[in-house]
């Protein structure tokens, strides 16, 4: 079956715990689907070639670059975006740690870092070393902070989880 790039396909996903459906064209990127079809503007797009990590979201428990995935391919998936981190408007411990440690400046890369760090914390038992943190975030580019305070923030969040 051949479909035109502008034909539409219905895509249903669970986003931040809520079932959502919307139409997408076969070529709609997941990042654009989240932002423009579902109105979740928190995921920023930094390069559209899968390098900078700004658009990182969690799909079925794993971080992905939402600019590299076509929306129809995630039909039926469970997705977490940055909007899913705070509860009832209160910052999560990870988000609080970023604020306390001054782990963000312009904020554009921040949602991607938060999602990468969420996955890291989720999969770690015990406190993270600086080396482990730097390795885990080396696929996310921040142009403002020089990473020092981001590392501090993730380490503080990891210490809080284990204390």
């Amino acid at each position: 079956m051949k479909s035109s790039p502008n034909s539409t396909i219905s895509v249903s996903v669970t986003v931040n715990g809520t079932n959502r459906s919307a139409d997408a064209s076969p070529r709609t990127l997941l990042s654009d689907f989240l932002r423009d079809r579902l109105g979740l503007k928190g995921t920023n797009v930094g390069c559209e070639h899968g390098y900078c990590g700004a658009c990182t979201v969690i799909v079925d428990g794993q971080t992905v670059r939402s600019c590299l995935i076509l929306a129809p391919s995630v039909d039926g998936s469970d997705i977490t975006t940055v909007e899913g981190l705070a509860s009832n408007g209160d910052l999560s411990p990870l988000q609080r740690a970023f604020q306390q440690a001054h782990g963000l400046q312009c904020g554009f890369c921040t949602p991607g870092f938060l999602m990468t760090a969420s996955e890291l914390l989720e999969n770690t038992h015990g406190t993270l070393s600086e080396e482990e943190i730097r390795s885990a975030i080396s696929g996310n580019i921040c142009r403002c902070t020089g990473y020092v305070h981001i590392v501090d923030a993730i380490r503080a969040a990891s210490e809080e989880r284990t204390s």
Binding site: P5, G42, C47, A86, H102, C106, F108, G146
Partner: protein, 782 residues
Amino acid sequence: MTPNQPRLVGARVARVEDPRFLKGEARYIANIVLAEMRHARFVRSPLAHARITNVDTSDVPDGVAVFTGDDWAEHGIECTSRYEGFQPATMPILAVGKVRYVGEPIAMVVADDPYLAEDAAEAVMVDYDPLPALTTVDDALADDAPLIHEHWDSNLYVPRAYASPDYDEETADTLSISARLSHSRHSGVPMEGRAVLAEFTAGRFKVHTATQIPHLIRTAVATAIGLPERDVQIVSPDVGGGFGVKAQAYPEEVACALAARALKVPVKWIEDRREHFLASHHSREHTHQASLHYTEDGTVRGLTAELYVDMGAYSVFPWTSTMDTGMAMGILPGPYRFTGYKVDGFPTCTNKTPYGAYRGVSRPAACFTIERLVDWMARDRGLDRLEARRKNLVRQEDYPWTNAGDLVYDGGSLSESIDVMKEWIGYDELVESLRDDRKKGKLRGLGMAIFTEQSAHTTEEFKKRGVPIVFGYETATLRLDPTGHLTIAASIHSHGQGLETTLAQFAGETLGLPMERVKVVFGDTDQVSYGAGTFASRSAVLAGGAARIAATELRQKLTRIAAYLLEASEADLVFNENGVEVVGSPGLGVSMAELCRITYQRPDLLPEGELPTLESTKTYDAAPGTGTYTNALHMGVIEIDAGTGGIDLQKYWVVEDCGVMINPLVVEGQIHGGVAQGIGSALLEEMIYDENGQLLTTTFMDYLLPTAQDVPFIATRHLETPSPSTEGGIKGMGEGGAIAPAAVVAGAVEDALSEIGHVYVSRVPLTPERVLGHIADARRQQ
């Protein structure tokens, strides 16, 4: 400041602006959706230099609007220097008749959907008659070079020259070392690219644009379209990083405005990353032919330099195409007290993307040149590199010191920073241990650079630079509302620097207000007074200064009113989180909310003649306007992998002095970020053009940004020498981190290879290929 008053200045306050960014609620332009909004895409030149012979839009699908150069030929962005002999190069909105760099906009399509706009742009067919591409300064300045702008006499924007009166005398009978030193072309590359969303309603433009300089963009857009500035509103909401790239006016801003007026719908354009590399302004590319003159004992007497700066195809608004050259001419002597100086500057037009600002503006290249030369002099004279610097630095008793380039250094702590650094890092032991490592075959080395960072310079400095608009001041309006909450409306911007927090700290303290009672707004020309915006490490000093002076005026008025209401003496009142209280009588006072309510709503209770308003607007220029100088000493340790040429940057230390700190947490964040960008300059970042003027580095796979594994932990120590010339003694410091790393890493490479041979590192970035070249050079000496 009276006792018992809470201190906000100097406190490590967590930023108040953070929650919206952390929750994904930031208002970047890409996130703004307007009814009827349509999407633009630009057709860009694939050639560096060519005549356009035909633009065929007949295949553009129905329902898609298309504009070409002829539609807007009468509009353009002009920025002509006041320097005599400057050759103007007005930037077209869409190219007319000729293209001058790869990426130059030729046509614009506007469609219902961004995907459809990309498809439609592919349908525009352009025919070219190629011309020779001039991709280097040498090519462009050759006698037989074709002219990029046909009406010019040569491809030089304007020749510049300066010599100190005692140059000949000081440099006679000295030793000299000469070299050609260069920085590659690179750019700030913020994570958010440029973005524009323009509307035209009721005869008025509203242009959202991701910019650092909203009012200057208003001037540029209004001038290009031919409108009173009143009829243009510029809104720059949350901006995802700037670093200077967003401190220029761009054709896309004018194009979206014109298209919105023509189509009667909002028009949005979101730059993609490839466009960013091709069409957002570049920076940094300098080549210096320089000689340092010194005596046998290692006293520097003079400097001779020719500065070649590749400014690309057009003069950029508001800087002109002479800014980098001019600033380098002033700062090249660095923190040193020699007086003999002769410099010639060659800002040159080439077939490359226009060249604008990037954090540090020319100072990374200037610092690189002087610091490499001083290292080489130290080696030649057998001196310790740090002590060779100390011997030649401006001394405490010299301030205010007019440097050889005619800049006035107002104060600092240069020699002290060396003392602090030496003790902190155990310098002597470190030098020993690195030498031992090298004897065992490891390629480990230490590098260093010391510099002064001109900041918050205003009228006097920009007058000298020949720019058409002299960036002389900033303005802040403070307004207390009847509930005792303060709004600061400032003419600067903030795109990561944390000014929503630091301005609130700096001005809020004067009124004893806790952070949660102060809100800072900026970025909307309808809401704030005219001002230049955020660049040149100026916003905390200038907008902060204006806000603090306005706060002082409000405090005086509130003091008069409170004294009258409390029947107390003005001298006995203190401002704190409870409001205004009588010293020594806790509980006897009036809350800020009550004081403000009475002022606005019970004017009958006010002292006679006191007007019922709590507003103050102040403009501040940090006189004398020559800038206040932050200083810093950076040091770093590297290890080279002899097999791959890879550099592992293992340690990095910064001792800096930016005067009184408003918020050390924010200061450190700015240092870290600047150093990381400097590390990019030192190791990774390079815009590479081929001989036809094609930019080969247009993705993050070819143009490498530093990651968390390239940037080490950056350790910082602060000295606090108050500025003698600014409100509160603060100095600007946003750019400083980026200035020194290239010089530090280059010196460390020489040190690391010193057991093998003496190399001279005169070019960055130090890619593995270049490092292998240096290793081979060193080995050839054996």
